[in-house]
């Protein structure tokens, strides 16, 4: 199967198609825009009808042409993204699920209001069933008397495959302040998860490993054995921020993905798949 052409080629092809589609409208939009501008110009400035009419006609014609180019650009962008996504999915044996594919147990699904799922794709990767989608929720932000809707966009990856013998697990890289023992204690006290302190102080400072309260300590030590801990601390082995619940692994980052970033998304998925192999103790060939 041939790999899809570069994204730019899809843009060029989509532009040609969009121009062909709206090409006939270019002159009418110019004429109608100019005519409408002339009438409006003449009505607005009664004292100088001729001059104002000409100025209005010029502005209207320009707006008409501008509208034409806007239409072409929007059509080109939408078609290029859709065509490239379809070609990418065909190459990888994936399927386009599109907008509105609700994932009720996904990250942030309960946050804010007006949740929206978009651009969902699904397919296999390294023996895993992958679902990639964009998600947004909204919050109402108020400042003084005015308020506005704030969008919180994410790109989300759900990887289903091997099951872990724990209800929940979360592996994340800590921020610049490192480990704050008090915050970890609060986390462990007020949630059904507990922060696990392994035998390496460097590991505990650098990473946060949380498991469900009922998780088996021996299993944790078997997965995070000295070699794995050492490799993670030294950077020889890298895990993304990865979470496990409802029998699936979840990864998410801020911001939506775009069609042109699908290959980057694939790298992200492979990064997650590698971590899953370690967590599920799948022997590599």
């Amino acid at each position: 199967m041939t790999p899809p052409a570069p994204y730019e080629q899809f843009e060029r092809e989509a532009e040609v198609a969009a121009r062909a589609r709206y090409g006939k409208a270019q002159v009418p939009m110019f004429v109608v825009g100019g005519g409408a501008g002339a009438v409006i110009g003449a009505l607005v400035a009664k004292d100088e009808r001729v001059g104002s009419g000409l100025a209005g006609a010029a502005i209207g014609a320009l707006l008409g042409i501008g509208l034409y180019f806007l239409l072409v650009m929007l059509k080109k962008r939408a078609d290029a993204a859709a065509n490239y996504t379809a070609a990418w999915c065909a190459e990888h044996g994936w399927q386009v699920l599109g907008d509105g594919h609700e994932v009720a147990n996904g990250p942030h699904a309960d946050s804010g209001h007006n949740p929206q799922w978009r651009n969902a794709l699904t397919g296999p990767l390294e023996g895993l069933d992958v679902l990639l989608y964009n998600f947004s929720y909204y919050t109402t932000e108020s400042s003084g008397k005015s308020s506005h809707e704030e969008e919180h966009p994410f790109r989300v990856l759900r990887l289903a495959g091997p099951q872990l013998p724990v209800q929940t697990l979360s592996f994340t890289t800590r921020g610049m302040f490192g480990k704050i023992g008090f915050a970890d204690s609060l986390d462990s006290t007020f949630t059904s998860q507990r922060v696990v302190d392994l035998e390496s102080v460097d590991f505990n400072e650098k990473f946060k490993l949380e498991v469900h309260d009922t998780a088996d300590e021996i299993w944790i030590r078997r997965v995070f054995d000295p070699q794995t801990i050492d490799a993670l601390v030294r950077g020889d082995l890298r895990f993304p921020n990865i979470h496990y619940w409802d029998g699936c692994f979840w990864l998410w980052e801020s911001g939506h993905y775009e069609a042109r970033q699908l290959d980057e998304m694939l790298v992200w998925q492979l990064f997650g798949a590698e971590a899953i192999k370690h967590l599920a103790r799948i022997e590599r060939a």
């Binding site: 035998e199 390496s200 102080v201 590991f203 054995d225 000295p226 070699q227 050492d230």
Partner: protein, 186 residues
């Protein structure tokens, strides 16, 4: 009580609280050092336990190497007797070096190289060595953090009186850093 006295008491209480937190932090750091050392110790004991088997197998094919075999056994006993990282470092380095020399004998004795037992011991040793390296890195990382804590201000002010002594790293000599070669015997 006047304002100065109240402020003095408040400062004293804050200082005591700070010292208490510092002390607890140092205790935790020392415990992580001990915990990491027990991880190293488990792997070292696995290596010690492998020595008699390895000596027996080699003896069966290379009896002429008795001096090396005796030396490895003696070094194993010395390494077993070491109780902390400082004592264990030279003993384990010597043992690791001579165990490598034992494995290298396979080059000179084709029958030894072809032995299934020998190749199994060889790969088991390679696995143990990898675990030792990982456990040692973890231990040394914890020691570094602990020593930093008790040697820097303000930890140094209470480390001495409270009996927090500096811990030694588990040092690998140059020969010990070389990976064990696990030869595939067909």
């Amino acid at each position: 009580m006047d304002t100065v006295a109240i402020a003095g008491v408040a400062v004293l209480v804050l200082l005591l609280l700070g010292a208490l937190l510092l002390y607890n932090g140092m205790v935790r750091a020392r415990n992580t050092v001990d915990e990491a050392w027990s991880g190293v110790d488990v792997q070292l004991r696995r290596r010690h336990d492998l020595v008699p088997n390895l000596v027996e197998v080699v003896k069966g094919y290379a009896a002429h190497e008795s001096s090396l075999l005796t030396q490895v056994t003696a070094e194993r006993d010395a390494a077993r007797a070491a109780s902390d990282a400082q004592a264990a470092s030279p003993a384990e380095t010597a043992l690791a070096g001579d165990m490598r020399a034992l494995l290298a004998l396979a080059e000179a004795y084709p029958n030894l190289r072809a032995s299934k037992n020998f190749s199994e011991l060889q790969s088991e040793l390679a696995s143990i060595e990898n675990n030792i390296v990982a456990a040692r890195n973890i231990y040394n990382g914890n020691v570094r953090r602990y020593n930093d804590k008790i040697q820097s201000i303000p930890g140094v002010l209470i480390a001495g009186p409270a009996g927090f002594a500096q811990r030694a790293m588990f040092i690998a000599e140059e020969s010990d850093r070389q990976p064990v070669r696990a030869t595939l015997v067909l």
